[in-house]
C-alpha cells in the first residue's frame, strides 16, 4: 500500500484548499486500505459505504487535524458510524431485510478449505480474514491493513489495548496456521477434488 509519507501534510493542506489533484493523491493513498477494511466488515456494501464515507470526508476535510495514519483512522471512524446507522436503520425496517443491499453485513463466511487452496493474493487474504469472528477480523484489518497502532485500534473499537494486541495476534496466528496446514494437505485435497470432478 502506498503512503504519501512526508508529503502528507502538504497534500492535505492543498486538498483542503480545493486542489483536486491533491485530493486525488489523498484518495489514491487512503482509499485502498479503507475499501479493504470495508470488504471485511461490510461485505457487499463495501464500495457503497466507502463512497459515502468519502462524500462525508470531503465536507469535513477542513476540520481534520492529524497525520496520515490518523487520517485513515478518521475515515474508518466515519465509515463505522455510517455502517452503524445503516444497520440500525435496517433493524427498524425488518421488512426490507432481504431487499436492502446495505444489509450484507459481513462478508459471507467463505469456506476456509476452499479459500486456502487458491493462490494467496489480496482477495484471498481478505476472505481468509473474514473467516475470523467479526470483531477479531476488524481488529486484524485495522492493525495490518489500515496500519493503525494498537492504541488507535483500541480507541476505534472501544477495547483495551492489551485485548486488541492479543486478539490481533491470535487471529493472525490462526490464519497462518490454516495456511501452513493447507500447504501440507493441498495435494491430498486436490487429488480428492480431481477425482470427484472426473
Amino acid at each position: 500500500m502506498t503512503e504519501l509519507g512526508p508529503q502528507f501534510p502538504a497534500v492535505l493542506t492543498a486538498a483542503t484548499g480545493g486542489d483536486v489533484d491533491a485530493f486525488a493523491r489523498l484518495w489514491r493513498a487512503a482509499h485502498p486500505p479503507l475499501v479493504r477494511y470495508l470488504r471485511v466488515v461490510a461485505g457487499d456494501a463495501a464500495e457503497d459505504v466507502a463512497s459515502e464515507t468519502w462524500l462525508k470526508a470531503i465536507h469535513a476535510l477542513g476540520s481534520f487535524r492529524g497525520d496520515e495514519s490518523g487520517f485513515r483512522g478518521w475515515l474508518v471512524t466515519i465509515a463505522r458510524n455510517h455502517l452503524h446507522d445503516l444497520r440500525r436503520r435496517s433493524a427498524r425496517r425488518p421488512e426490507s431485510l432481504t431487499a436492502d443491499p446495505a444489509l450484507g453485513h459481513v462478508m459471507a463466511e467463505p469456506d476456509v478449505a476452499e479459500v486456502v487452496l487458491e493462490r494467496l493474493d489480496t482477495d484471498r487474504a481478505l476472505r481468509l480474514v473474514a473467516t475470523l469472528p467479526p470483531a477479531q477480523a476488524e481488529m486484524v484489518i485495522l492493525r495490518v491493513v489500515v496500519g493503525l497502532d494498537v492504541a488507535d485500534v483500541a480507541s476505534i473499537v472501544g477495547r483495551k489495548p492489551g485485548a486488541v494486541r492479543v486478539a490481533v495476534h491470535r487471529g493472525l496466528r490462526r490464519l497462518a496456521e490454516q495456511l501452513g496446514d493447507a500447504a501440507t494437505v493441498t495435494p491430498v485435497v486436490e487429488q480428492t477434488l480431481g477425482r470427484r470432478d472426473a
Binding site: 485502498p32 457503497d48 478518521w74 443491499p101 491493513v145 491470535r170 496466528r173 497462518a176
Partner: protein, 291 residues
C-alpha cells in the same frame, strides 16, 4: 515455521501468548522469518489493484462539485485559524449596530445570493453533491455506463431504483429541495424545469451528464436548446440561498466524523436519518484532531 526463540530481553507478560513478539515483528516488517504469517501480511498490504481505484473519477467529480457549489472546506479552515467565524460578515456594511451591541451578525441577514453561513452553504453543497451523484447515476444508468457502487449510492440516496423514472424524479426533487415536500414534482424522468434542475445543472457543470443521456436531453429541453444550458442554469437557484431553512441544517456540523450527515437532511420522514446521541460508535481515534 522454523523454531525460533525470542530475542534477549523479550519477556511476554503472563497472559500474553509467548510468541507475541514474532507477530509484532512480522507486522513491523523487521526480522520475522518468512512463512505463512509474513505471506499473509504481505498479501493484505499489497499495492492497490486497479479495481480498487476504479471509482476515482466519480469521487473527484463529487469533490469538484463540492468545491464549485460553494463549500469551502478551506474557508472553514481559515475561520478556525483566526478564530473569527463571522469575520467577513462583520466587514459588511450595516453591522455597526450588531457590533456595538456585542452580537454576531446572523446568517439570515446576509444577502440572499451569497450564503456565507457555514451551515447554510454546507447544506446547499451537500444537497448539490447528492443531486449530482444521484442524477449522474440516473443519467449513466440510462446509457448503461454506471459503476455498480455509484448506482447503489444513487439507489439508496434517493431511495429509488435508477430505472424507475417517476419515483426517482420525485425523490430527487425532495432531496435537492432540502425537505420541502410542496416543491416535489411529479414529472417523469429528471424534470429539468423543477427542483431537479439544480442537480442537473450541477452535474452538467461537473461534466457528469453524457450527451446521449436522457437527463441531458431533459436539461436541453428545459433550457430550450443545448446552447442555452449555461444561461438557463445561471437562473437556477441554489437550495438555501434564497431563504435559510434552519430546520434542515445539520446540527452535527462540529462533529467531523459525522459532518456529512446533512446529505440525508432532505429525505422524506419515512427514511429517518437517526439521532446521533444514542450512537455508541462515535468514539474516535485519539490521533485525529477534532474541533
Amino acid at each position: 515455521m522454523p523454531e525460533i526463540t525470542p530475542p534477549a530481553g523479550v519477556n511476554p507478560l503472563p497472559d500474553e501468548p509467548s510468541d507475541l513478539w514474532l507477530v509484532e515483528r512480522a507486522l513491523a516488517g523487521t526480522g520475522a522469518p518468512e512463512g505463512p504469517l509474513t505471506e499473509l501480511i504481505s498479501a493484505l498490504r499489497a499495492p492497490a489493484q486497479p479495481s480498487e481505484l476504479a471509482g476515482e473519477r466519480d469521487i473527484l467529480a463529487a469533490f469538484t462539485a463540492a468545491q464549485s457549489s460553494g463549500i469551502p472546506t478551506h474557508r472553514r479552515a481559515e475561520h478556525r485559524a483566526d478564530g473569527r467565524p463571522d469575520r467577513k460578515a462583520d466587514r459588511r456594511g450595516g453591522r455597526q449596530a450588531d457590533r456595538r451591541a456585542g452580537r454576531r451578525a446572523r446568517p439570515a441577514t446576509r444577502p440572499a445570493g451569497r450564503p456565507t453561513g457555514r451551515h447554510v452553504s454546507k447544506a446547499a453543497a451537500i444537497a448539490a453533491v447528492v443531486a449530482t451523484i444521484a442524477l449522474g447515476s440516473t443519467a449513466a444508468a440510462y446509457t448503461g455506463s454506471l459503476p455498480g457502487a455509484l448506482q447503489e449510492i444513487a439507489h439508496r440516496t434517493i431511495h429509488a431504483p435508477a430505472s424507475d423514472n417517476a419515483s426517482s424524479s420525485a425523490s430527487v426533487a425532495a432531496t435537492t429541495d432540502a425537505g420541502s415536500p410542496a416543491a416535489a414534482t411529479t414529472a417523469v424522468g429528471p424534470d429539468a424545469t423543477g427542483t431537479a434542475a439544480l442537480g442537473l445543472c450541477t452535474a452538467q457543470a461537473a461534466g457528469g451528464l453524457a450527451p446521449t443521456s436522457t437527463a441531458y436531453a431533459e436539461l436541453v429541453e428545459a433550457a430550450g436548446g443545448a446552447d442555452k444550458i449555461e444561461a438557463y442554469c445561471a437562473t437556477v437557484s441554489t437550495p438555501g440561498s434564497s431563504t435559510a431553512r434552519p430546520s434542515t441544517v445539520p446540527t452535527t456540523v462540529p462533529s467531523t466524523a459525522e459532518g456529512g450527515n446533512g446529505g440525508n437532511g432532505g429525505k422524506p420522514s419515512t427514511h429517518p436519518t437517526g439521532k446521533r446521541d444514542d450512537n455508541p460508535s462515535t468514539q474516535r481515534p485519539t490521533t485525529p484532531a477534532h474541533p
